[in-house]
């Protein structure tokens, strides 16, 4: 099994490390799936076998890596690794905002145990590069367990799909609402309205976003476009999704009333899916 990749574009380095941070906010460990076209990060909520994952991020290898080579297991040519996200996020945190990182190399290595070695190339006063190496231990996932970490197939038909309003605005609103309750209700209607609301014994607050775009594939539904479908989700997880630097991304919010909120982010070279299950009242 071999893996070696190099990212030299500063924007891609920042995006990659931002993604690691997003993942680390969601869970302590994640699965890294590598194949010849994609690098995927997977977080399973609760880790239940066959359960809907909490996060699925798929990066197009060609968009991010200037050099990429891998040799996986089996005819599918895949590698499945498990790693601890908080350690990795700490390691790479300086790269999120760094202007001067020259390159980031990632290699599968074997030190005392299998590791992902991150080689960060930085400029130094002398003009030559300075290399910082981090070894992050990983565990290899045997083939018989791969089935648990497949790309999610949505078994639920969505009740409504709607594009999110500007992330920055939504982020401010959700961050303030966090102080009122641990759960927020997201409710959307095909007429293009999304409502975020919270309540507790002192206050009930809801923010209405109107005239949002609705994806075309919903067009042949027969029910009243004003009907709103809502689900209550964990507000911290929702807030965590909104923290990233996703200003240029388009995000679709899919709601299965009372069961699930699925956020689908599309940006050049990356798709990111968050699955927020419904939470009941405390």
């Amino acid at each position: 099994m071999k893996f070696r990749g190099k990212i030299i574009e500063i924007g891609c380095i920042r995006q990659f490390t931002q993604l690691i941070t997003d993942v680390s906010r969601l869970a302590k460990s994640c699965i890294l799936r590598l194949n010849s076209n994609h690098v995927c990060l997977v977080v399973s909520d609760g880790g239940a076998l066959g359960g809907t994952p909490g996060l699925w991020a798929e990066l197009e290898q060609q968009h991010y890596f200037s050099e990429y080579s891998m040799e996986g297991v089996s005819e599918e040519n895949q590698i499945f690794l498990e790693l601890q996200t908080d350690k990795l996020a700490k390691t790479l945190s300086s790269l999120r905002s760094s202007q001067s990182t020259r390159s980031l190399k990632i290699k599968l290595t074997k030190k005392l145990s299998p590791c992902l070695t991150f080689e960060i190339e930085l400029p130094s006063a002398s003009g030559r590069s300075r290399l910082v190496l981090h070894d992050v231990p990983v565990s290899l996932i045997p083939r018989r367990l791969w089935a648990a970490h497949q790309e999610p197939r949505m078994s639920h038909q969505f009740d409504v799909s709607i594009y999110l309003p500007p992330i920055k605005t939504l982020r401010h609103v959700v961050d303030r609402m966090k102080t009122f309750s641990s759960r927020a209700t997201l409710s959307g209607s095909r007429s293009g309205t999304l409502v975020v609301s919270v309540s507790n014994s002192e206050v009930a607050a809801s923010t209405h976003f109107r005239n949002l775009t609705v994806p075309a594939w919903d067009a042949d539904r027969n029910d009243d476009p004003e009907t709103a479908y809502g689900t209550s989700v964990d507000i911290k997880k929702l807030s965590s999704f909104l923290q990233g630097d996703h200003n240029t991304a388009k995000v679709i919010c899919n709601i299965v009333s009372g069961r699930l909120v699925h956020l689908f982010l599309m940006q050049e070279g990356i798709t990111l899916q968050y699955f927020l299950p419904a939470v009941s009242a405390p």
Partner: protein, 277 residues
């Protein structure tokens, strides 16, 4: 920015107030948000929001009717108690800093005893509505502070007091104010783990605009009480300090709100000697 979204017809409500920039209200309330509960008193003059610390300190922020683009009240006086921290969070929902040309518009509605305070905030087409529970107001403290019993009065630039307050010896339980006539001087002193520290601000300093002292006074106030004034001091351009014959101090902060309105926040503080009785 006019509010385009109207949920309730304002004509029947006991209090309706609209302001183009919610931050004006938000920033004023933030200066007195040292306690969770506030009493709101609405009258034709505007809103007076009061926060108290036991029976020893009272802070009042005045949001004058003139600040609002629209202000209608049906009763002479309406009072209610509200969770100030929740109110501040609601007012900040679209962010607490205005970007140029963008600020949240606010509509406040209250329909008398028992009804919630309703806030409608709009920015960039998004609308937030909040209903905050209100409770019966208890009677506010009356410190009986009247202008004719003021012994000493100073008006000074706030940066002067800000600098002094930022360097205070925090290990001292009290801050003492000694005002003398000849020489005209304001002395602030502390007595803490490191000894006694005194700071003198002479009456003829360029930081002091007015120094009206009829007799020397010397009173101490609890440091913890004075801490509550720090946010208001940070936002203010000028401070007026008045002491009455009992030693009660009134600090009045003149704050230039966004949009150049001048607002006032005042603090009444009980001297330590009164508390010892």
């Amino acid at each position: 920015m006019a509010l385009s979204y109207q949920k309730e017809d304002g004509s029947d409500l006991q209090l309706v107030a609209k302001i183009d920039n919610a931050n004006i209200v938000l920033h004023l309330l933030k200066t007195i948000s040292f306690r969770e509960t506030a009493t709101v008193c609405a009258s034709a003059n505007g809103l007076k929001v009061t926060v108290e610390e036991g029976k020893t300190l009272q802070a009042n922020a005045f949001i004058q009717a003139e600040f609002f683009q629209d202000y209608h009240i049906k009763e002479e006086v309406l009072t209610f108690k509200i969770n100030l921290w929740v109110l501040v969070e609601c007012l900040s929902i679209f962010g607490s800093r205005s970007s140029p040309g963008m600020s949240a518009a606010l509509k406040l509605m209250y329909n008398g005893h028992g009804s919630p305070l309703v806030l409608l905030l709009e920015e960039g087409g998004a609308v937030t509505d909040c209903k905050i529970v209100t409770r019966d107001a208890c009677e506010s403290l009356d410190f009986n502070f009247s202008s004719d019993r003021v012994v000493n009065k100073l008006i000074m630039r706030s940066e002067c007091l800000r600098e002094v307050f930022s360097e205070l010896d925090q290990s001292s339980a009290f801050l003492s104010f000694h005002i003398t006539t000849s020489p005209a001087n304001l002395r602030l002193s502390t007595s803490g783990n490191y000894g006694v520290v005194q700071t003198d601000i002479p009456g003829d300093s360029e930081m002091i605009e007015t120094f009206k002292c009829s007799s020397a006074t010397s009173h101490s106030y609890r440091m913890s009480l004075l801490h509550t004034t720090f946010k208001a001091l940070a936002a203010a351009q000028k401070v007026s300090l008045r002491v009455d014959e009992r030693g009660f101090m009134c600090l009045q902060f003149m704050i230039k709100a966004e949009g150049n309105e001048i607002a006032f926040v005042e603090f009444f503080c009980c001297p330590e000697e009164e508390l010892m009785d």
